[in-house]
């Protein structure tokens, strides 16, 4: 009986220590995550101006109604969706190709991994600074494209034309993050047991068949993970678009939601409306995250 009692007290002591260990993080989270998101939700129901002495006035869902009626906000949604889809599809294809090809090599695996990953190490501001010069009318982008298309002296308006500037941001983003997703695919590939390929070899499979009937189906969880992760990242893109507009590119084609939030809050001082925008962005991302959890649970693979 006494033995049980001591054990009980040890368990209780351990439970206390568990709470002690997690309390600092919980306090920080409530201050810097939970409170702000609730505050954003609350503020989005008010008409509130930054730096204004007037008390905010409650206007219900008017901010949301305004946004859903505003062509400027719909343009932001369009810009964000175009950027997200335009980036994540090539990102997925190229990172998968790189990973499969790197893993098929016997040598220089590490070298290629590091080469593709290296842009992710540079900061996004540095990346934008480099590419702004590359996209200069006299810059490398025009030079190379003209060599490939055999069209000397043509300016492709990388930063001026509204379609080209969207393509440019996609190119910068894809360049920066392709290595990151390549690594994730490589981890996924490495977890496929070699014995499966050996069995396929006995059954007379070739490389191409192996890829279609073994590698790709077994990589499905990784593929879903990479798609959702890259989509989530693309939805909240900010730096590239911000710096491109700072560098003289037109705002409208690349006015993604985060950029719009920033401008609405900091330049126009409309805190309530900006909060409503960020809540809409949050909901969009929640839907994607929910999809990720659902799909990753449904697709557990055992070898």
């Amino acid at each position: 009986m006494s033995k049980r009692n001591t054990k009980y007290s040890i368990e209780r002591k351990k439970a206390q220590w568990g709470w002690i260990f997690i309390t600092p993080s919980l306090i920080i989270f409530s201050l810097f995550n939970f409170y702000p998101i609730l505050n954003a939700l609350y503020t989005s129901l008010f008409k509130k101006k930054l730096l204004s002495l007037k008390p905010p006035t409650f206007i219900g869902l008017h901010n949301y109604a305004y946004l859903l009626d505003s062509p400027d906000f719909w343009n932001s949604i369009r810009a964000t969706v175009v950027f997200t889809i335009g980036t994540f599809v090539p990102l997925l294809i190229f990172s998968l190709l790189f990973a499969v090809f790197i893993m098929s090599r016997k040598r220089f695996q590490k070298f290629f991994q590091m080469a593709y990953y290296s842009p992710a190490v540079l900061s996004s501001v540095v990346a934008a600074a480099i590419w702004l010069i590359i996209f200069d009318p006299r810059g490398l982008a025009n030079q190379w494209l003209n060599i490939i298309m055999n069209s000397p002296g043509i300016d492709h308006n990388w930063l001026a034309n509204s379609i080209m500037v969207q393509l440019s941001t996609i190119l910068v983003y894809g360049w920066k993050y392709v290595g990151y997703f390549t690594i994730i695919f490589i981890v996924g590939l490495a977890s496929i047991p070699k014995s499966i390929y050996e069995a396929a070899k006995i059954d007379g499979g070739n490389n191409w068949k192996n890829f279609w009937y073994i590698t790709l189906p077994l990589l499905k969880p990784t593929t879903i993970l990479v798609s959702i992760m890259s989509m989530l990242q693309c939805l909240k893109t900010f730096s590239t678009q911000y710096l491109f507009t700072q560098g003289g590119a037109p705002l409208a084609p690349i006015n993604v939601i985060t950029l719009n939030v920033y401008h609405t809050a900091i330049r126009d001082h409309r805190i309530g409306r900006a909060s409503a925008m960020s809540i809409i962005l949050f909901i969009m991302m929640l839907v994607f995250t929910w999809m990720q959890f659902r799909s990753s649970r449904a697709d557990e693979i055992t070898y």
């Binding site: 260990f21 920080i28 290296s118 900061s123 490398l140 994730i184 809050a265 960020s278 991302m285």
Partner: protein
């Protein structure tokens, strides 16, 4: 019998030749794309050695004629000769280092608590912490900004650091790492009279260096890269971080591409050096995401 063998060998050779061609094509694809991926970085370093009007010459000279060191001087000196870039680099270091340290510390604490202690509501707490991963920073930046100004923390190190003291991914990473840690060792230490804090400090921390290093590097890199938050919270030149200096330099010195690239190169050299030295932690950090469902 021998005929059949020969036929087989011939067939094999055919397939073999075909596979050599495919093999070469794959090598070519990898090398060309790798060159394309590396080109902008190489461009940055070569252009940082060139005077501005050489950089936009057609065709681009990948090997600079001479080293035009004035770019670096210009970049560091700044337009007003205040050498504020040095201070800004220092700020970036401070913020990134402090954020890495606090994130590692609090994440390890919480991760350890969640992995090795059983208490009521543990799973709920874990789920709540994981839920914060779904809150994008971009959605809470305005309330955060308002809170920071209200607390009078704008334009200070505290303001730059506060929102990033700990993050859910760090806790998740440490928890996953500690779960595999054998309980017997912890119990043995308890029998020897070690307190829970001592266990954390002298058994857990020293034995989690790979996870700590991965997390620290991940966080350091993210802070080194952070633009949005400093953009909101910093007003004075003295408190700016590297990304803000580059943005300002770009706006003011739009035409001096050489100095621009020198500034960018200076910002990139430290992080690239760390990358070459500790690449396994960088690559490991990326790979951890794939175990996120666990």
């Amino acid at each position: 019998m021998s005929q059949k063998l020969q036929l087989n060998q011939l067939k094999k050779r055919g397939i073999f030749q075909q596979s050599i061609i495919i093999d070469l094509l794959i090598w070519a694809f990898l090398i060309i794309t790798a060159l394309f991926v590396l080109a902008p970085t190489i461009f940055m370093f070569t252009a940082s050695f060139m005077p501005a009007n050489d950089i936009l010459k057609m065709p681009y000279r990948w090997i600079p004629k001479s080293f035009y060191w004035q770019n670096f001087w210009q970049g560091i000196r700044g337009n007003d000769g205040s050498f504020i870039y040095i201070r800004n680099i220092f700020n970036s270091f401070i913020v990134a280092a402090v954020v890495s340290a606090t994130t590692v510390f609090f994440s390890a604490l919480a991760g350890f608590g969640l992995a090795k202690y059983y208490f009521k509501g543990r799973n709920l707490v874990f789920m709540i912490i994981m839920a914060t991963m779904m809150i994008p920073f971009e959605a809470i930046m305005i309330p955060l900004y308002l809170v920071t100004t209200k607390l009078g923390l704008q334009d200070s190190y505290a303001g730059l650091i506060a929102p990033f003291l700990v993050n859910a991914f760090g806790i998740f990473l440490m928890r996953q790492y500690f779960i595999t840690f054998p309980d017997e060792i912890l119990d043995a230490a308890r029998i020897d009279g070690a307190s829970e804090l001592m266990i954390f400090r002298s058994i857990i921390l020293p034995n989690s260096i790979p996870a700590v290093a991965t997390l620290a590097i991940l966080i350091f890199k993210a802070q080194w890269d952070n633009l949005l938050w400093p953009l909101l919270v910093v007003q004075s030149e003295e408190m700016k971080t590297i990304p803000l200096y580059i943005v300002k330099f770009m706006a003011e010195k739009h035409t001096d591409e050489g100095a621009m690239m020198a500034v960018a190169a200076i910002a990139s050299i430290p992080i690239l050096l760390v990358f070459f030295k500790l690449s396994k932690y960088f690559l490991g950090g990326a790979a951890i995401y794939s175990s996120r469902k666990g």
